[in-house]
Symmetry: D2
Subunit: 260 residues, 4 copies
């Protein structure tokens, strides 16, 4: 919020000659050696002291979002690292730019649907309306289906089981996802797997992460995954091989439509 | 490493229709609900099962690198977020590009000096040689001094005390930093504080993080810090205020040398 | 397009041991010393030999998009350059990430409206519908109004006059913008200026740039503008001043709501 | 430079309610329709009115740096665009991060050598010393050799011929490159081609571009090249094909060293 004068303020961090505070906490006295990275991260993002359940859910979400092998983000990071090895942060930044609406960041799209279902007078009708809408577009419902994991995305079911086992969670987002899943299956006439981003949307929603913030968890987690790709690139470079492979696989054709 | 055929390989992640593995571990069976984000991150980056001490040191390092208020990286992230709010990952990426040789990523510069001292036949002479070199350049020794924290950087001393309290750590990097500190003080004729990045260099070195990888920990941690800045920006925007403030503070002058 | 086998192909560039081709053109024989940067850029982006009018319009658009002083993108570039001066491309990239839906890249939003008007059975009714829609949202129509240039954005009127003076242009996008302008004025009950991005949308549309490509021209032009900011930063650094100014202008407040 | 008060100033751009100035020039009155993009870019970067020769050399340099097919930067841009198509600027920014010390931005490394030769009391001895140094490192001299263009890089010789044909150029940088070329050949015992980045370093030096600014020209030019790659990606997507090809080409192996 802003002060009465309209000047914006920050509540995240302040420092003096002799101390540094993260919100109300003294970094040296209250945090170092006492709180984990996940704990302080949630304290800063959610502006509250995280509970044990918040940490368990967040760690699971961050672990599941960290890696999926040689993805577009990992390939981009490896190629940029080869080109500018003096600039590790640039290679990670390049890969993070892939956390968009089509991959990795997609939990936002599903979370928006869960918000709609949660706010609807008739949640089941809203879920069916959503399923019908995407069928009309001939496009998958965000949070459902996976081009690699068939018939089911094992990550999704494990994450949902973890959430169901947490008595402190209200369960409303998980139930909204279950409603949407039933509607998606009915509309398809066969079971469609819930995927990891669907489950991540439900779990982050359960611990109170706003939909517009969820993509940030993918960015944080993927940053760690991409650093591991850079370490592997330092030990066994693949960048030149990727370059040669792609250049060879995609031929040039001239206006004639024939290879030059 | 590469296979005998010269084709690069990856050891980070593989997936089948029904499972996903991070190195040797089954994501669903072995990691979700059993390992924290910090634990899996270290397993991927260091290619070994982290010990308790590795987690304690890494969490402390990540927490200390997360925030320092309205830094260049946080200001850049807030401005980019205002300009392209549909693109949270772009705002974080912009801020991460500040993790360079001058700020945040500076632990690399200090770690390189600790490596030299550790490898020297006469470590104290090497430390003195380094201190003399930077005095000649009239520039601070990487890892020493701080323009905001005077006379001492409380973060540095806390981190070093944590490392000294860990019997499993060899202590060679901390001792190298102590040697360098003694040389820096002797050269200056007064005590110069060890700063946080100096301590971070020593601690990451103690748990076996190669110097060329250290900057990655700043990137991961700062990504979390920048997401918190975006959340605050969503709640109380400062971007327009920053723009107006900077534009007003830096006048235009024409070739005449006079304001237009 | 893709080959019959489904393998993608490229038509942009190919090289042999002794030559390099951009599309059908031999770089050394046909382009170097014979074609300008703007000319080759358009040939590559539009896949046709640009006419004189295409070059005049494109140069005007690129010049107008290059600079607007200490904008969010320029401030971000200067701060990132201060933090990682070894990495000029990172500083430019950070600033380019500001070319989004809210600033600089906004011509896309306006061009989409011009496309709608051009495709409508009753263009004037469509324009009025658009104006009514945004009035309902209490938000400005993309391409209209400017917080700095009042009552009129002189860039917009100059660009439109240039387009009107080109007999080879069909004028359909300019007319669509004029229709939208009349509707916007009628809805507001007073004249609202067309702004530079509105005019840019019309001009790029007149030379056949698809709406989804227009943002690219802002990226190219702003890259040049940001390089000039870096040169000025090299000669008279402002990064530290910006940092101190912003940090001082935005106070920290604790949970109490009072400054710490 | 900064004002007497130490407050930084800018000389690049200023605006009023009714006008916008780029340095001393009125954008609407003096630039639009009168100056090309290349012309205004140089005026802003070099802070002087460019001559015809400056434009000819700059256009040639920008054209030669624009494209080299499916390079790491183009591949990264295509992959990021597939992942976040709503965010064209992010895809270009990702590719630009490849303009580093190893590719594209390498003219800086060569320009630094030309600066040394130009400043040396005995330029030929300095050139030989440089050639000897790199031979000792078993690494190519920046600006010499090319892994794709053999035996000669045709771009380099064309660019140098263009510069030699310009009577207004002093020729000192071209001569320094010729001296270095003679030394490189002598040290190798066979002719080694001057490459495009070597020639670019000499040409930009001839028109007075400081070595520390040269990489910016690669960034500007490559931005245009990458926009063309995005347009091709919009028309015939290759991102998914690249992803599948790379993932299939680089096998996972477990700790056993055997494929999983």
């Amino acid at each position: 919020m802003t002060s009465t004068s309209g000047t914006p303020v920050t509540r995240l961090c302040t420092h003096t000659l002799t101390s540094l505070h993260y919100r109300e906490a003294d970094l040296v006295e209250d945090l170092l050696g006492k709180k984990t990275f996940t704990e302080v991260m949630l304290m800063q993002i959610l502006n509250r002291t995280p509970r044990g359940v918040d940490l368990r859910i967040t760690d699971a979400v961050l672990v599941v979002l960290m890696e999926h092998g040689l993805t577009p983000s990992a390939i981009a990071t490896r190629l940029i690292y080869m080109s500018a090895p003096e600039n590790l942060q640039g290679a990670v930044s390049a890969g993070l730019l892939a956390v968009g609406s089509s991959f990795v960041g997609t939990m936002e799209n599903c979370a928006g649907l869960l918000d709609r279902i949660g706010a609807a007078a008739d949640p089941d009708a809203e879920a069916m309306e959503i399923a019908r809408h995407y069928k009309g577009l001939r496009s998958p419902v965000p949070g459902f289906g996976h081009h690699l994991h068939k018939p089911v995305d094992p990550r999704a079911y494990k994450l949902l089981d973890m959430a169901r086992a947490e008595p402190e969670l209200a369960g409303h987002k998980v139930r909204a996802l279950e409603r949407l899943s039933a509607a998606v299956d009915a509309m398809a006439g066969r079971p469609i797997t819930i995927n990891a981003t669907g489950a991540v949307a439900a779990l982050l929603g359960e611990i109170g992460v706003p939909t517009g913030v969820m993509r940030g968890f993918a960015v944080i987690s993927r940053a760690a995954g991409l650093v591991a790709h850079i370490v592997e690139e330092q030990q066994s470079p693949s960048g030149r091989f990727i370059w040669d492979t792609v250049e060879h696989a995609i031929p040039f054709v001239g206006a004639s439509g024939k290879p030059a």
